[in-house]
Amino acid sequence: MSEALSTALALLIGLDAKLIDIVLLSLRVSLSAVAIAALLGLPLGAAIAVSRFRGRQTVIVLLNALMGLPPVVVGLLVYLLLSRAGPLGALGILFTPSAMVLAQAILILPIIAALSRQAIEDAWREYEEQLRSLGARRMNAALTLLWDTRFSLLTTILAGFGRAAAEVGAVMIVGGNIDGVTRVMTTTIALETSKGDLPLALGLGMILIAIVIAVNAAAYLTKELAQRRYG
């Protein structure tokens, strides 16, 4: 453990160029995936929250269930989709960071959609009469609620980021863990563990956890400050 700690420190203090590349690629892939999933998932969650249609409950149950989608399964599906014989094979993005972004975006889209659906539906209960009284139509109300629940949606997005940053199965399958191209923190940890370099694996693990904590702390502070200001 102490060896892992000193390795982590040495890696950090040394600002090892290779390590920095791996960390940056991890962040780039996961943050891009979060951005895409939020762009699609938040409006989807809001639309489901305020609409009434047949089979709505089924959709909600499915969406909630998809939050537990196993990363390796997503990886496999995206792999089949992008492999040369697959429907999107012509894109030629398998074993590139783009494929990893796609897989992670699919993985966390249900998380962001399902959690935002819940938050917005709770708000809708409070706002519905007032907004309908003012003549707001449902889709208009959905946009209003998206903006009004922005602070709680930040937590939703963080849940998505946490999932993306932590998963290894999907990026391993569609990225291939190619040194210098698609190697990210989690796949490096898996590789070093299997090679027996436990101190390096643990050191990387600590850095990964530190990054996740830092991102969450920043988001939490933003949320607290904003909530105190806007009530």
Binding site: E129, S133, L134, G135, T144, W147
Partner: protein, 241 residues
């Protein structure tokens, strides 16, 4: 009447039931422009439900509700409602009023003028930039009135607007409601507060267990109530009015 006014409002045999239990029971009445109407009754008499039916937030289980000029879907509403607990959006007081005007299709620069004017009329201009949700309960309710005011509605529904406020804040709300009335807006207000009914009302609709039991001018209602229920209500409520 073909003057474009949405009044009178006619209710014909309107009932509203939840799970077979009637909350509003065969109410028929006509509400015209002019004097302000108070819907009076004990808690659970159906005041709020009746107002939500009139305002279109609920649909009657049976019976008909007709405005003189029917509302078109998507057109700006000519009626507004202020609720017991105001619902404010997480933005400034100014932006809350502007939001309502935007929904009503009113563009800048007119929108800004109306927001300014309505905040001034309720005495909140100095708090215009303050986030609405951190205002006090009384201020939020005044803001709700400003939001309604800016829309220049023909009819303003008020559902126990002072029930969760202290007496000072309640007085301020009452004076804004009087100003609405003086400006020609038809005020329809639910309350169980007899003092408030006298101060603000011209006529009383008295509800008991979902039924319209009595309709009379304020003077008549309080001096010689026609129904047993109304007499009992006045007697029971007066000490706290």
């Amino acid at each position: 009447m073909s003057n474009g006014s949405i009044l009178p409002l006619r209710l014909a045999d309107v009932s509203f039931a939840v799970g077979g239990r009637p909350l509003i029971d065969r109410v028929s009445l006509e509400i015209g422009a002019g004097p302000s109407t108070i819907i009076l009754g004990a808690n659970g008499a159906g005041k709020s439900v009746l107002m939500r039916l009139m305002h279109g937030l609920l649909s009657p289980t049976s019976g008909r509700i007709d405005w003189n000029a029917p509302e078109r879907q998507g057109a700006p509403r000519k009626q507004a409602m202020v609720f017991q607990r105001p619902v404010m959006l997480r933005r400034s007081a100014y932006a809350n009023v502007a939001y309502a005007l935007k929904l009503a299709g009113i563009r800048e620069p007119q929108r800004g003028v109306l927001v300014h004017e309505s905040l001034e009329s309720v005495g909140l201009l100095h708090l215009a930039r303050r986030p609405a949700r951190v205002l006090s309960g009384g201020e939020q309710q005044r803001l709700a009135l400003a939001r309604a005011w800016a829309l220049h509605p023909e009819v303003l529904f008020l559902d126990e607007p002072t029930a969760s406020l202290d007496p000072g804040a309640a007085r301020e709300i009452e004076s804004v409601i009087k100003a609405f009335d003086a400006a020609g807006t038809k005020v329809v207000m639910a309350t169980h507060n007899l003092g408030q009914a006298r101060r603000l009302g011209d006529e009383i609709l008295f509800l008991d267990q979902g039924r319209l039991v009595e309709r009379a001018s304020v003077g008549e209602f309080f001096s010689k109530p026609q129904s047993v229920q109304a007499a009992a209500f006045i007697k029971g409520e007066l000490p706290w009015a």
